[in-house]
Amino acid sequence: MTWDHFIFFAIPSVLLWTVASAWALRRPKKTLPALFTVLGLGVFFSFILGMWISLERPPLRTMGETRLWYSFFLPVAGLITYQRWGYKWILSFSTILSAVFIVVNIAKPDIHNKVLMPALQSPWFAPHVIIYMFSYAILGAVTLVALYYLFREEKLQDKERIMDMTDNLVYVGVAFVTMGMLMGAIWAKEAWGHYWSWDPKETWAAATWLGYLVYIHYRLLKTSKNKTSMTILLLAFMLLQVCWYGVNYLPSARGRSVHTYSVR
């Protein structure tokens, strides 16, 4: 399995997810959308699995590989949200977002090779990155909800319902960001001798985490304003972008981060 086969898995997956999304929008019953989403996920995951086997290591090292997991976890997050809270539009959301990342990967695939440097050979590698990608997927969805709210505030009927929804999603997202970060800390202790070294990636991970905690604590008060809450979410997501790939371009972080694994 190589990157060249990606398109043959990606297109059927996106089609299945699209059917699921359309169904969820029209009909109240949750069974069929769930079934189609799971089928699409199955097709998509078989590509990931194929890459895993042919690379002889989990495909989690390069940016392209993490995008692959991100595209996978968006529909997963969408499905969980759909099942748990019944937001019927969430599957359309996650499908579109996932498709965007799939297109990026088709247009600009990474160089793939089997090399996995010793620091990455750890049982913490897969859970650390996978949990982070899952949380990014959820927080990406929250960001879109926030944007939707900010652009349409005047016309919205049931604002409290949307606020409840962002709360729900942020709590799930923060739970996973926390787990991903702390697993990273435990791993860092095992690999580099210290659980926290303020490496640029760690610094921005802390900033991201704190950004979402500000939202949670701000929302605890009855006096909180919806618009401010949603703006906090947008700013927090910008911190997340810096943490995810922005650090690769930051002059302050260049050549200093131990979190750079895309070898040329």
């Binding site: 090399v115 996973f176 800390a185 202790k189 001798g193 303020w198 500000v214 604590h217 200093r256």
Partner: protein, 424 residues
């Protein structure tokens, strides 16, 4: 709403006071920074840190029990002080992320000579402002937890306690423990025993732990082939450098428009060049290089090009194969798959342990953790030297207690979700 009628510092305090207090703490830190320079963690080693920790906890308990109705104490245990404090800390973390950071051990002359340098921004984590803000967060966390114990308890509060106490332990343990942390690097040659190690400043110190290096083994990935630009040495095509990892004979591959086939593989070779030609023969000795004989064809070549390619070693130079005037086939240095030190470790107290130490597989003995750190990179896979890092962090159990509480708290957050109908 009569909110607008409230003046600053009038009870009950709100966000405005929160920003003033957090900003005031940052400003105090800044003044201390200008007066005293950075905090040296070593000055806070035991018993200073334990005293500070005990005073902090005692102070929090006193505030809680003696000043329970004081409006400042109540304000400190609520969101109106927390949110501004978080935002000010967040701001300093963003500054930390945007400025290049230097360790406390680097001489001051290496830092940029500007106002930010005097403000401590290039060594943010040991600057007074940053550390004081962290303590402020600890105070808020402590008082918030204590205050919650007065409320009627419910199962939902399990998550609250795990998260807030967990962070209190992890942050407090990390902050206070940094003074007691010891890190040394120790270089050991195969067959020798070593107990002297260097600290970050390069001072040699005798440790209560000795390492005997029995053997040191490096495993490498298979060799790779690339096509490079003869002029620049850059891997082609420049926008998406391609490489081929050798997988066995008789499998042609495409690189930058060339078909490359490996004809012969000698994992341990002597590569001898004179003015006329290159001879490559097997050599089962240290210093042998990896060599591949390849055949290159492409539409613009009249006849295939054939020859040896090698990445060299400390004994032999590398060898490239010219395809034409512009490009060549080359073999980059092989990537390391794994390096292992087989060691016997002794301690002053009389413990003895035999183990294999690898990256990601450190060895714990008494309160020391021994890490595989490096090797003699000039010698590559023939290195007879292994470098270890020895770390002692007596506060680790406190930090780990916090981390595991936070992990459980995160799981709780995921399952329980936010409190419903808080606004109605």
């Amino acid at each position: 709403m009569n909110k607008d009628a409230r003046r600053i510092w009038e009870k009950p305090w709100s966000y405005t006071e929160g920003f003033i207090v957090a900003g005031g703490i940052a400003l105090t830190g800044l003044l201390l920074q200008l007066l005293l320079g950075n905090i040296r963690p070593a000055d806070f080693r035991s018993p200073v840190n334990t005293t500070v920790g005990a005073l902090l906890v005692a102070g929090l308990l006193c505030c809680h029990f003696l000043l329970r109705d004081n409006h400042v104490v109540r304000w400190l245990s609520g969101a109106r002080s927390t949110v501004p404090a978080m935002l000010v800390v967040l701001l300093s973390i963003v500054i930390l992320g945007l400025t290049p950071q230097f360790t406390i051990h680097e001489p001051q002359e290496h830092l940029p000579n500007n106002i930010f340098s005097r403000m401590g921004w290039y060594r943010m984590t040991t600057s007074w402002a940053f550390v004081l803000l962290c303590f402020y967060i600890l105070v808020i966390l402590g008082l918030t937890v204590l205050r919650k114990t007065r409320k009627s308890q419910s199962w939902r509060l399990i998550g609250f306690y795990l998260n807030h106490l967990g962070l209190f332990f992890a942050l407090g343990g990390g902050l206070l423990g940094s003074g007691d942390m010891q890190r040394y690097t120790m270089t050991v040659v195969e067959g020798n025993t070593e107990w002297r190690a260097h600290d970050a400043l390069g001072n040699l110190k005798e440790l209560p732990v000795a390492i005997e290096l029995d053997t040191f083994i490096i495993e490498e990935y298979p060799p790779k082939l690339v096509v490079i630009d003869n002029r620049t040495g850059k891997i082609l095509p420049v926008n998406r450098p391609g490489s081929y990892m050798f997988e066995g004979l008789g499998k042609p591959t495409q690189l930058n428009g060339n078909t490359i086939e490996v004809l012969e593989y000698i994992p341990q070779a002597a590569v001898v060049r004179d003015s006329a030609f290159t001879s490559v023969v097997p050599m089962l000795m240290d210093g042998a290089a990896t060599a591949l004989k390849v055949r290159v064809t492409n539409p613009s070549l009249k006849a295939p090009v054939e020859g040896w390619v090698s990445n060299g070693s400390y004994l032999f130079p590398y060898q490239v194969l010219y395809i034409d005037e512009t490009s060549s086939v080359a073999m980059p240095v092989q990537e390391v798959k794994k390096y292992t030190s087989q060691v016997t470790v002794f301690t002053e107290a009389g413990h003895r342990k035999k183990a294999n130490i690898e990256v990601n597989k450190p060895l714990s003995i008494e309160d020391w953790i021994i890490y595989q750190y490096s090797y003699d990179e000039k010698m590559g896979k023939y290195s007879k030297t292994s470098v270890f890092e020895l770390v002692r962090d007596p506060w680790l159990p406190v930090v780990y207690t916090g981390i595991f509480m936070l992990l459980a708290g995160a799981l709780f957050l995921f399952i329980a979700g936010p409190k419903k109908n808080r606004k109605s």
